[in-house]
Structure formats: C-alpha cells, structure tokens
Symmetry: C2
C-alpha cells in the first residue's frame, strides 16, 4: 500500500494548544496533502501512550474522530498503545486494516500532550512503559535504565562519552534544518559533555525532551495512489516484535532483541538488506539508543554504533543518514506522535521534498520505533514506487 498524505505540527512546549487542536491540525494537513476530503476517510487509528494520565482523557481515538467531524460519519476510530512505540504500532494496525480489505483510505494519527503535567509527573508516567513491579517500584526510572545500558555498552564495546555526545550534536544539527523541530539550534560537543548529569553517563543533552505534538499519515491501496498521480511512496511492510519488559530478563542489555527481530522480518518481507537503506529514522530517546539502534538494525556490527556517530557515517552526507528530522532528540518526542513523525520524515525524503535535509536520490527508507526500554520495536520499510 501507499502513504498518500502526511501532516505534522510543530513539536515543542505547546502551552497555548490543546490535544484536540494539535490532533486536528496534523489530520487536516495530512488529508489536505493527500488531496482527499474528510468524507473519503473510512477508518481512523490513533497512537497515544497515556492521555489518561497526561490530560485525564481515555477513549482518545473517539475524541479525535469527534473533534475532526469524522464521528458524524460513524467511522471506526481505534487507539493503539505500546508506550513510545504507540505511533508505529498504530501505523501497523492501520496497514493491516487496508491489507485485510476492511478499509481503503485510512488516517493514522499519533499525538501526545505532555506539558500539561510537571516534569516529575511526566517522568513517572514515562516510567510506566518500563516494568512497574520489577523496575519502577524499586526506584528505577526510564532515564536510569537507559543509563545502565549506556554504561554497559561503554564497558563491553569501548563506546566513549564523546561518541554518545556526537549523536546529540548530529541530531541537533539535523533538527536545525527542520522547521517542525522542537530544538532548532546547533550544539557543540562541549555543551553536551558539560551539561548537568541526569543519570550517569547521560546528561541533559543525551535525553530527548518532553514534548507536545501530533503527526498523521493517510494510507491507501497502491492502485488508488497511482491513480491520484504524483510521486508514490509505498509502505512495503511494518514488522513488530516484543521482548521482556524489564531489563533484568534480557539476553544482553546492549542489544534490543525486539529491534533485531522486527528488522530482520522487515528486511526479509521487503527483500532488502540493511545496505539498501538510504535514510533511516531511528528511536534516539537517548543518545545511547541511537547507537544501539544502528547496530541492531544491522547498519554496523555490534559495538560500532558509537564509531558510526563519531565518523559522520550517520550524518547528512554520510553513508546512511540517520534521523535527518533531528530525531527524538531535536525534533522532539511527543510519545504517541513519534512513530508517525518518523514516517512523515521518511515519506518527505522519498518524495524528494525534505528541503535542506534531503538525502539525494533516496529510494528506500526505514523507520524504527521503540516502546519502553525495548520491550516493543516496530520497523517499517518505505520505498519510492517505480
């Protein structure tokens, strides 16, 4: 099937906008971009982690359908949740709705309004994507668990503090080129290294921010997309895998097996290898996450993810540009929106519409979205249709 439209709001601390407003804005943009009308939409999917706790509203897909006027057409509206992977999981569910023949034109939105609670509460909510009973209860947080992975990665693979920082510097550089990014200022290695410590070895600039934002895409069968004309971007496959919720039960805390399994299935189903990927959006909730992701996705052997960031291999102009949008780090990480925002960026790249961030001649792109500390991963393959 194809992605026939995309829409995204500015990401950031959007104190003057409600969940309803940002959800509507992204959806209207995507529908407009697809050149369809709201009445063409047959189903709605929404990726969202925790609207119940952030804005005291569950049943959020019905709210989006209502607020966008689509509930008047009584279309099915479904929320999918898997912590920070909620967006890509919603995309995958929507893709199944099209593939199963249930629906033709489907809108998938992702949205999160995180800044209506204070930072401590936001962190407590994020930690609910980890294992409450075996991790959070004992004081572990989302941040400290990733710090453990980072420290172990440094021990096992010789990854350096500077290499972690290189990920942040690169993604801020990319984000500075993205008008929708939360942070649009370049930063230096010294800024990252000298920042306040969050959880050793991760400092402020190693962490993705708390963000508000929404993104949406429109899916349709390939024949409908070709009939509409223009550059067609195919969603070739979207694969999802699980792993233990707590870090303690993982085979290796420097590897996300969910990413390994999801990507291997995705490569196999789409007939590509990691070497065929021209551009990738990966889940850099922390700098260490991007380092692990480029390894687990097979772009470099295990242990060389730090080097990939340091050498410029994953920067714009490098062998495989990663997170041209700025990633979670600089574009921002409104949890439910993140997986969809990744798809929006990849589609822009494959359409050749990524402006100053454009990867020349990009034909194959992937998005990689992780839930919690790696208990869920979704890898989607996109291709410019010939």
């Amino acid at each position: 099937m194809a992605v026939i439209g995309t829409g995204i709001t500015k990401f950031g601390e959007l104190w003057d906008k409600s969940f309803r407003e940002i959800g509507l804005e992204a959806g209207v943009k995507a529908i407009g971009d697809a050149g369809i009308s709201g009445s063409d939409v047959e189903a709605l999917y929404v990726g969202n982690m925790s609207s119940g706790q952030f804005i005291q509203q569950e049943h959020i897909a019905a709210l989006v359908a209502d607020n966008s006027g689509m509930a008047a057409q009584h279309i099915p509206a479904t929320r999918v949740e898997g912590a920070c992977a909620s967006g890509a999981m919603a995309l995958r569910a929507a893709a199944m709705a099209v593939a199963s023949g249930h629906h033709d034109i489907v809108v998938v939105g992702g949205a999160e309004k995180m800044t209506d609670v204070d930072d401590d509460e936001a962190n407590a909510i994020l930690t609910m994507g980890c294992d409450q009973e075996w991790e959070a209860f004992f004081g572990a947080t989302y941040n400290s668990i990733f710090a453990m992975m980072a420290r172990r990665h440094m021990h096992e693979h010789g990854t350096t503090r500077e290499q972690l920082a290189c990920v942040a510097v690169k993604n801020h550089r990319h984000g500075a080129l993205n008008p929708m990014a939360q942070f649009r200022s370049e930063i230096t290695l010294e800024t990252v290294m000298g920042a306040e410590m969050v959880a050793d070895p991760l400092g402020t600039f190693d962490c993705s921010p708390v963000s508000d934002g929404a993104a949406a895409v429109v899916l349709a069968p390939l024949d409908i997309a070709h009939k509409a004309g223009g550059e067609v971007v195919e969603l070739v496959t979207s694969c999802q895998a699980s792993d233990s919720l707590s870090l303690a039960n993982r085979r290796d805390i420097c590897t996300m097996d969910a990413t390994v399994h999801a990507s291997r299935r995705a490569y196999s189903q789409s007939g590509i290898t990691p070497g065929d990927v021209d551009v990738a959006e990966v889940h850099d909730c922390f700098t260490i996450s991007e380092i692990m992701a480029v390894e687990d996705l097979g772009f470099v052997p295990k242990g060389q993810g730090g080097m990939a960031a340091e050498s410029g291999m994953t920067a714009l102009g490098g062998k495989i540009p990663v997170n041209t949008s700025g990633g979670l780090k600089a574009r921002g990480n409104p949890i439910g929106a993140t997986g969809i925002a990744q798809a929006v960026e990849i589609v822009a790249q494959l359409r050749g519409k990524a402006d100053k961030r454009q990867v020349a001649g990009a034909e194959v792109g992937i998005s990689h979205n992780v839930g919690g500390t790696g208990a869920t991963a979704v890898v989607s393959v996109f291709r410019r249709a010939r």
Copy 2:
C-alpha cells in the same frame, strides 16, 4: 476465520490476584482449550482501558507477552483501547491481523484490575471514557450521564422504572447459572427498586459493578480450525462505529448511533437479519443500556426495549435470550475484559457447551460492546460452521 479456543477467569473482587496472574490464567486456558501450544501463537492483542491508572503500568501488551513467556518468541504484542469497548476492539484488530495474512494463530486477551484503587477513583477513571472537557470537567460522571439517558427514555418512550429493574433481575438470574460470574445470587424486583439511589433513576442494582477479571480467545483461519476437528465457531465479521464523545452532540440521547451503524454493517456483511440471531451478549453497563441496545440492534423497534425485558422475550427461554452470561450487570465488568468475555459466552453457546444457560440449537450469536457512553460500539457476528 474461527475462534478455536476460549478462556476466562472468575470475575469479581480478586484482591489476592495480580493483573499478571489473571491475564496469564485466561490466556493459558484459551491456549489449552484450542489444543495448541504457546509456541504456535504468532501474535498477541490485549484489550485494556486504563492499566496506567489502575495499576500504574502502561505498555500492558508487552507485559502480558513477557509474563506468559511469549516475549521470548518475540511475537508482536499490541494493546488496543476504546474505554469499555477495548475488548471487542482488540478482537477486531486481531481478526484483521488474520484476515490480512500477517498471522495465522492469534491470541486476544482482555483484562482489567480495577479493585486496587478505591471506588471514587475507579469512577473518576471510568468517567475518562466520557468527554473530559465537556462533561467530566463540569461534574458529570459515567453514572449520571446514563441516568440522563434513562430519564429521557422514560419521558420519550414511556419506559418504566420496573422495566429497568427487570433487566437487572433477569441478568442476575442468568448470572446465577454462570460459575464465572461475579454475582451468583438471584435478586427480586423489590430489591432493585428499593436499592440506594446512584443517579436518579438508576439505583445500585441498575449499575454494573467494579470488577477484576480477564478473558481470552484464540483466532485462526477456518481451514486450520476445520483440520483440528470438533465444533467450529466462525467469527463472521466484527464491525465498529463511532459517535460524538459527549452526549450533547448526539442526534438522540435515547439511541446509540454507533450501535446502529456497527450492527447494520455487521448484518449486511454477514448476510443475516436481527431475526436470525439466536443469542446475544449486549453491553448492559446500566439497565438502561441493555434496553437501548436491544432496540438499536434491531431486535425490537425503538421504545420497546423496556417491554422486551418485562415480557421475558430477552430471558433464557424467550424469543432472543440476551446476556445469558449474566451480562456486565451480574457476570461483572472488568472493562477491558468485557468484550472478550462476551465472545467467550457466545462461543460456548454455539458449541452447545453453555450448560444450564444453553440456548437450545443456537447457530448464530452476536456480541455488542460499547465504549464510554456510546462514542464507540463494536458488533461481532459468530456462527456455528456447518
């Protein structure tokens, strides 16, 4: 496709059991009933409304996959949420996964652990399935909104207080025959009429209880089901519709248009009429809800739902037995589990295994699951395969 296995826990105030335990129990029963092994399962879907608030755990499908050992196989595990319709929405998402060819054998579980918070908090959480901004913020609750529907139904259609009570009496009578039901005691009309008022005209016995519980079913393509032998129950279709989140924007607060649209699509897709339905599980979160459901599903004309309960038409032995399990009212309503528990009951009926609750010769059954005050409805049609 077919439902090849079902499992359910006892519903009730399960203070000695955790979410993990009840989820595992239902899943293991369903897998055992299907005669398969855990390693045959290709994907997991979980319906759950608000684990983040009830047990401080989001990312709940990953938890279930982990706790059941299935995360070791790295299968995709996906949570679907739509307030009280979460269970049936998860069933529908799983059905699409099978229909799209992505997976063959899929487990769908529904679970909610509600009694770890106090009743006031539980009610506040349930009200988050309504419109926070236009209803809850102004003091409306889940209970009071349904009371408004009831009062209006009495005014418009002459429905009586006694007719509301008849629904509770009937469903408690059915529940007394169901070993898994939360309430297994028959009650009299006088008990219902004389009970403490919750929201006029609804008293304690007009409301479904706060419950813990889990249920699961296993889906597979029809050919696999037939190969396994035994009575095969087909899931013919599962249709979902939306409506405005708040009551204020509805065409008629005595009609749930989401139910009307979902059921008309389901009848059309499965080639049946309401008259073909032998047994139905409908969403009786309040007594008024069942009255509206039997009307909106087309079993009786609008306004005659109260009469249907009073006349015995919807009781075991009547023309169309409704909620033979005891319904939400007596079997219990652990939110995310409810839609799956309805499927478990319908499958038992169509297999001829409903014991003292058996509807003789039942061939076609439907389940009807509502989210919030009717912003989502899912109607599924099941049929004994010939």
